[in-house]
């Protein structure tokens, strides 16, 4: 192992590798920050540049693009409630409220440092645990994936506000958005109404941009022509962020490991890990849970650590087994093949130099991302000072552009607009867009794996539940989903009790002071 690492560090100590690393980090951050262009798009766009490089430098460039795009995607999520990548959707829940509270710079530094911690954890897990985790990831079958999706959906109780029914309806509608198109198992067309654009289904990027970007900028029209938020960073903002992060050491490490482990599961992806990390952050932060959704620091730190931990994790099946576990890993796979290298266990014997250089490259991307991110936080945070008359058209145009760039299809733009307008309307009634996003992200995983599981169960003459209970990892996820659900419901009940207590205390205080207007107000709130 140490010998391999020495080879890896030797491989990265070339000018070509460093140019690839720095250029990839800068490009990845910028592309990731553009709404609609995901980490996969970023890696795909930079792929042609790697053909003229050596294999190690080429893959280092793609790995650095992938890592930094995950980071960059969360910048607009925090500043303008528009996730640049799907993995950044969970960061909007508390990142944007922090911006609205005038804490944009604090949120951006927190996002950067949490991402660095998560990225380092992911890279270290990639370096030291690839053989073990690669084998473990192969044990994930449809039953495990189905229950992983259920665990994610069980978080709806954590994401929704007081109105659980609306949260549930939002989640179900999100899942329903994944239904149109060809059934992934039976091949039958569903809900397409013979309209050919629907055969491929509703794309995730326009839907997510509709939920977050379009809906939130339409809401900005209510503000009048003012900046989105004040930008009043504290004196010594970086030191303050470190101080706050010091109180969440366990959370940062835990969610980073969680991100890397979920990333190591082929097909799971960054968005699922960030959603799961958000739920876990809320579960762990017992004292601060009422702040979630209103700008809780833990609500940014957890998903960001996981979102960046995913990168190292998702390269594990690529290097360890030759299975690309994500879209970005698939492009890296093709880049390696283009250089005549077949990823997989034999790569560590035949081209150990490349394998270890890739691992060290993923690790070294993190300090470069830290330096670039640190240098740009002040500038990027200025975006919140832009008045609404510039911000609204700019975000809408970028969303249309990013959506159109996906498939050069106007239909996707229409989907973006319809979902954005409907999302704005129902959000006003208390249906949280985040629950719809959660359903959308997990819907495909849920249905296709349920169908696969039932086919396997049938083939083995087992009932579906018998099959589930024959899979130890699936049982683990079942237990996890039950814990998440029970905790979420308990949290809702305790939040409701706290609100009633606060109202009762205030009413008692008002009675004591004889202030009838305060009493009236609280009676109304109680109703």
């Amino acid at each position: 192992m140490l010998e391999g690492l020495a080879i890896g560090f030797e491989g990265i100590l070339t000018l070509e590798a460093w140019i690839a690393l720095v250029a990839g980090t800068v490009a990845g951050t910028i592309i990731g920050a553009l709404p609609g262009l995901s980490a996969v798009s970023a890696v795909a766009l930079l792929l042609p540049f790697t053909f003229g490089m050596g294999p190690a430098a080429g893959i280092i460039m793609l790995a650095s693009v992938y890592t930094s795009a995950q980071y960059g995607g969360s910048i607009p999520a925090i500043l303008i409630n528009t996730p640049g990548t799907t993995g950044a959707a969970a960061t909007t829940f508390d990142g944007y409220p922090m911006t609205l509270k005038g804490e944009a710079q604090e949120a951006l530094y927190l996002q950067l440092f949490a991402g660095v911690i998560g990225g380092l954890i992911g890279a270290l897990i990639l370096i030291f645990f690839t053989p073990i985790l690669a084998i473990w990831s192969l044990r994930m079958g449809p039953a495990e994936f189905f229950w992983l999706a259920v665990t994610g959906l069980a978080m709806v109780a954590s994401l929704t506000g007081r109105d659980v029914i609306k949260g549930l309806i939002g989640t179900v509608i999100g899942v329903l958005l994944t239904v149109p198109g060809q059934d992934r198992i039976t091949g039958e067309s569903r809900f397409t109404f013979d309209y050919h654009h629907l055969f491929g289904g509703i794309q995730m990027v326009p839907a997510l941009l509709g939920f977050f970007a379009v809906a939130s900028v339409l809401a900005l029209t209510e503000k009048g022509d003012k900046p989105i938020a004040d930008l009043t960073p504290r004196q010594g903002v970086v030191r303050y962020v470190f101080k706050r992060m010091n109180r969440m050491k366990f959370l940062l490490v835990y969610t980073g490991v969680l991100g890397a482990l979920i990333g190591a599961i082929p097909g799971a992806g960054a968005s699922i890990s960030a959603f799961v990390a958000y739920g876990e952050s809320k579960r762990i932060s017992k004292k601060n849970r009422h702040e979630f959704g209103k700008g809780a620091w833990e609500g940014v730190a957890g998903p960001e650590s996981a979102n960046n931990g995913v990168v190292g994790g998702s390269i594990i099946p690529l290097l360890g087994l030759g299975i690309p576990g994500s879209g970005s890993a698939a492009i890296m796979f093709s880049a390696l093949v283009a250089h005549g290298i077949i990823p997989g266990p034999r790569m560590f014997e035949d081209r150990a130099d490349v394998a270890y250089t890739v691992m060290v490259g993923v690790l070294m991307t993190i300090p470069v991302m830290l330096i670039f991110g640190w240098a740009t936080v002040r500038w990027s945070s200025l975006a919140v000072k832009a008045p609404v008359r510039f911000m609204v058209p700019a975000v809408l145009a970028l969303s249309v552009m990013g959506t159109y760039a996906l498939r050069q299809n106007v239909f996707d733009v229409v989907v973006l607009i319809i979902i954005g307008v409907l999302s704005f309307m129902v959000a006003k009634l208390g249906v949280p867009p985040v629950t719809m996003a959660l359903g959308l992200v997990l819907g495909v995983l849920l249905e296709s794996n349920l169908q696969r599981a039932s086919i396997i169960a049938e083939a083995n003459s087992l009932g579906l539940w018998q099959y589930f209970f024959s899979r130890p990892i699936a049982i683990g996820f079942m237990v996890a989903s039950a814990i998440v659900l029970v905790n979420g419901v308990r949290g809702l009940i305790s939040d409701h009790r706290n609100e009633l207590q606060v109202a009762a205390d205030a009413a008692a205080e008002a009675v004591a002071s004889g202030d009838s207007s305060v009493l009236d107000k609280h009676q109304k709130d109680d109703k």
Binding site: D163, L176, A397, V410
Partner: protein, 155 residues
């Protein structure tokens, strides 16, 4: 419109929607194709019924009559913005990507300008914003990233 009334309307719309989803879910050759849509339809219907009951029973629902969810929405600006977005998407092909983008940026910027006491200045600023914004989009997507977009009259 009060939140209670809006909730009741939403419940009825959702019930109708759920019935439609369940009806569509029964029409597939392979029953597995309709399993999830049927389950989702049932869940939406149950949620809608729950919401309807909560809001029809006086003083038991979460919503109160004097909560007006849409009262702060500036409907004229909002509708024009949404309508312009639709026109923008319709204009992508005939006008070109960046040309329609420039017009969209300029018009929305002018619409949302708060102080229009000096109309000439407001129009000038909006036009500059539209042209510069479209140029930045073109530089970023077309020149740097090489993403293919609809060709238009100028670019």
């Amino acid at each position: 419109m009060s939140l209670r009334r809006a909730n009741i309307i939403l419940s009825v719309v959702l019930l109708a929607f759920a019935a439609w989803v369940m009806y569509l879910a029964t029409g597939f050759r392979d029953p597995r194709t309709g399993q999830i849509p049927m389950a989702l339809g049932i869940l939406i219907a149950l949620g809608a019924v729950g919401m309807l009951v909560l809001n029809l029973v006086p003083n038991k629902g979460a919503a109160i009559d004097d909560e007006k969810p849409y009262s702060d929405v500036p409907w004229a600006k909002w509708s024009i913005t949404a309508g312009m977005l639709v026109l923008y998407s319709a204009g992508l092909r005939p006008l070109g990507f960046y040309e329609s983008g420039a017009i969209f940026l300029a018009l929305i910027s002018y619409l949302l300008t708060g102080d229009k006491s000096n109309k000439v200045k407001a129009i000038r600023n909006s036009v500059i914003f539209g042209v510069v914004g479209a140029a930045v989009l073109w530089l970023m997507f077309d020149v740097v990233l090489g993403i293919p977009t609809e060709k238009g009259i100028l670019i």
